[in-house]
């Protein structure tokens, strides 16, 4: 099947959120043209409000986690997703029972979007035994296989073949589903990603690769790390005979409409897609990013926050639609904040893993006490 080439003209139509808000007066729908997409017409009012709630929860969760990171309650890295919430929430809102999600280390948003609890997520940041990975993985390594969420991966690009493998597994088992593999604009330059694309195209796998282009990989602007083809980063897919599309990420309707097209293709035709979703991160690469204020201007960040903030945009759309009131939105936000503070308290009061816990979860056979786990020496502690 030949790749479908999206014309630049078509891409240009995709409105910026600020524009979509202005245009809202002219078009019949306050959410912009994508609100009229079939998949969004069947999006219930209740689901829309829940989507807003999830975005508010991600933002509050991360703001509270930042506060505790700065107070020295956590170790290592903390990569905040704030500014990108609509991407994880919009895409994951489309997932059914056999759709699977995998991402990189900037994973808190995806985790909450798939339904992980704030307590287990916060406790993981604190390194406590009540964390989703019992304090073993930390911020970069959240997992919830029961929710079809396969992590949380620290090595740039390392998750991309795994996402491909989820698609392979689905096809192998004759299940009608797909994988959504999230990666950054910097990660597209890892060889593993290119190998994955070729395999996805060659084997007709229901794999969707979502490049969350937030403009930077650490302190390197997108244009300093990759050649940007006329159609954008997703256009690389053409070389592998794979469909692709590019869109703005701050309007949940747009994210859903574009992603659904790819999911339909995966579900119905077992074909892969590469999506580039343009977004922005408000904080440094991680909280430890000493140069966060050097490689981009304060004005750039503030302009984005003012004109493109995904949580604010979705809130305004839903209020304009009459689905949400100011009062209700404030209440949801307050509840999110309270929940995050309660999660921090839960995390703080939880115990650390013990030294003995370091030695569990290495081998399944040892943990389960099976014959195989008792045969031969598995550990060589000195």
């Amino acid at each position: 099947m030949p790749a479908k080439k999206k014309s630049a003209a078509k891409k240009k139509q995709k409105s910026s959120p600020a524009k979509s808000r202005n245009e809202a007066d002219k078009t019949s729908h306050p959410g912009g043209p994508h609100a009229e997409a079939e998949i969004n017409r069947s999006f219930s009012d209740e689901q829309k409000v829940e989507t807003f709630r999830t975005m508010a929860r991600i933002r509050r969760f991360e703001q509270i986690s930042l506060k505790h990171y700065n107070a020295g309650k956590m170790g290592g890295f903390l990569h905040l997703y704030i500014g990108q919430e609509s991407v994880a929430v919009g895409t994951i809102s489309l997932c059914g029972d056999h759709d699977h999600i995998i991402t990189a280390y900037r994973d808190h948003g995806h985790a909450l979007a798939v339904g992980m609890g704030m307590n287990e997520c916060m406790a993981e940041l604190f390194g406590k035994s009540t964390g989703c990975s019992k304090g073993k993985g930390g911020s970069m390594h959240y997992f919830a296989p029961d929710k079809n969420f396969w992590g949380g991966h620290g090595i740039v690009g390392g998750q991309t073949p795994l996402g491909l493998g989820l698609a392979y597994g689905l096809k192998y088992k004759d299940l009608k589903g797909c994988s959504l593999t999230f990666l950054g604009d910097g990660a597209i330059n890892q060889g593993a990603f290119h190998e994955s694309l070729n395999l996805a195209g060659l084997f007709d796998l229901p794999a969707i690769f979502i490049i969350e282009n937030n403009g930077y990989s650490m302190g390197t602007s997108q244009k300093r790390s990759s050649v940007y083809p006329p159609g954008g980063l997703a256009q690389r897919a053409e070389a592998y005979g794979i469909d692709w599309a590019s869109c703005m990420g701050e309007n949940v309707y747009e994210v859903r409409a574009v992603t659904w097209e790819a999911m339909r293709r995966a579900h119905e035709e077992s074909r892969p897609t590469v999506l580039e979703i343009n977004t922005y991160r408000y904080y440094g690469h991680s909280v430890a990013d000493a140069n966060a204020k050097k490689y981009r201007s304060k004005e750039e960040v503030e302009k984005y926050q003012r004109e493109h903030d995904p949580v604010q945009i979705w809130r305004e759309i839903l209020i304009a639609e009459g689905v949400l009131s100011e009062e209700k939105a404030n209440k949801i936000d307050q509840e999110a904040k309270d929940e995050a503070n309660a999660a921090a308290k839960f995390a703080e009061e939880s115990p650390y893993p013990t030294v003995d816990d370091i030695m569990t979860d290495v081998y399944e056979e040892v943990d389960s006490g099976s014959e195989a786990g008792r045969t031969g020496t598995h550990f060589f502690n000195t």
């Binding site: 170790g75 406590k128 930390g138 370091i358």
Partner: protein, 327 residues
């Protein structure tokens, strides 16, 4: 002697070698405009410009392989891995190409590259970011590996590594970057530390503590405790270089202390510590009055939790306990 930070000692070595040899080029992620993820290359891009200090995309296999290829033409790339942990995505280039091109070509081609970066646990970044692969790479003939513990050693070894005509992998430590120590003034001439020469960091008669990298600091601390609380006089050998390895320094020390404990942050199985034990049993068996013991990281992937990660790593108390069990 002036005292400088470990990270500045590396920068000074890079700066001096950039000045000495036009073929030296620094490649890596965020090494130029960002000044290095750990500020090791701070100021070098500003001073030397785009040609000599180059930011690369996140493509370790690509840029390290590129460095190997360029080195075949006489360029001398010094490549930063933001963490040595990311070696795995470039393994083929680091091993099959860098280590073996000389051998496979019957000596026609050589590969004067340096790959450097931090390789350590202890910063709560989890299993994927806490690898200590010095033993792994030292196991490939064709590669040289060093793991300096002090500012003076890292400067001297870095300069030697850059001038060496074989691939040298320098394993630094994020927890050492901010440590300070005496380093000879550049005005007094080139400060070079040869590969393959260990350093006795503390003299003693009762037991030999053999370590490299940050474990040397733990060994020195343990030696103080042993001296003060237990009247045991430990000698501390800092290997500095893993391959080539200073066998004589190890054997000479054990010949007069008759006891040894090896401290190595990497995991126990087939690591540097296992190699040293083999060496001692093969060549110092008659000198030994007690079994050789080791202190390694607990044999599991590195845990994230800030509450317990330090308990997984070697620390002075674990060394003291180990020594007391044989001394």
């Amino acid at each position: 002697m002036r005292s400088i930070l470990y990270r500045h000692a590396i920068r000074e070595a890079l700066d001096e070698e950039l000045a000495r040899d036009d073929n030296v080029v620094i490649l890596g992620e965020e090494v130029a405009q960002y000044n290095g993820a750990y500020k090791v290359t701070e100021g070098l891009w500003k001073k030397w410009g785009d040609k000599r200090v180059v930011d690369t995309p996140i493509s370790e296999a690509g840029f390290i392989g590129m460095g190997v290829g360029a080195s075949m033409l006489g360029v001398r790339p010094v490549m930063e891995l933001m963490f040595w942990s990311f070696h795995s995505v470039a393994f083929d280039q680091l091993v099959n190409n860098a280590a073996f091109v000389r051998y496979m070509s019957g000596g026609l081609i050589h590969c004067p590259i340096v790959v450097r970066g931090p390789a350590n646990g202890g910063t709560n970044v989890g299993a994927t970011h806490s690898h200590t692969p010095e033993g792994l790479f030292a196991s490939f003939p064709g590669l040289k590996v060093c793991s300096p513990a002090t500012p003076a050693d890292v400067k001297g070894l870095m300069k030697t590594a850059i001038r060496d005509n074989d691939p040298v992998y320098v394993m630094e430590n994020t927890l050492l970057y901010g440590t300070e120590g005496p380093v000879p003034d550049p005005e007094d001439g080139d400060h070079l530390v040869p590969l393959g020469v260990a350093d006795v960091k503390r003299e003693g008669d009762d037991i030999t503590l053999i370590a490299h990298g940050r474990s040397v600091l733990h060994a020195l601390k343990a030696a103080e405790i042993l001296d003060h609380d237990h009247d045991i006089d430990a000698e501390v050998i800092d290997l500095r270089s893993i391959r080539p390895l200073d066998e004589d320094a190890i054997l000479d020390s054990v010949a007069h202390t008759n006891r040894a404990v090896v401290i190595d942050e990497s995991k126990p199985f087939c690591g540097v510590s296992a190699m040293i034990c083999t060496l001692l049993q093969e060549k110092a068996f008659d000198d030994l009055d007690a079994p050789i013991l080791r202190v390694n990281s607990l044999d599991a992937p590195s845990i994230y939790s800030p509450g317990v990660e330090n308990d997984q790593l070697p620390n002075p108390q674990r060394i003291v306990d180990k020594v007391l069990s044989i001394a």
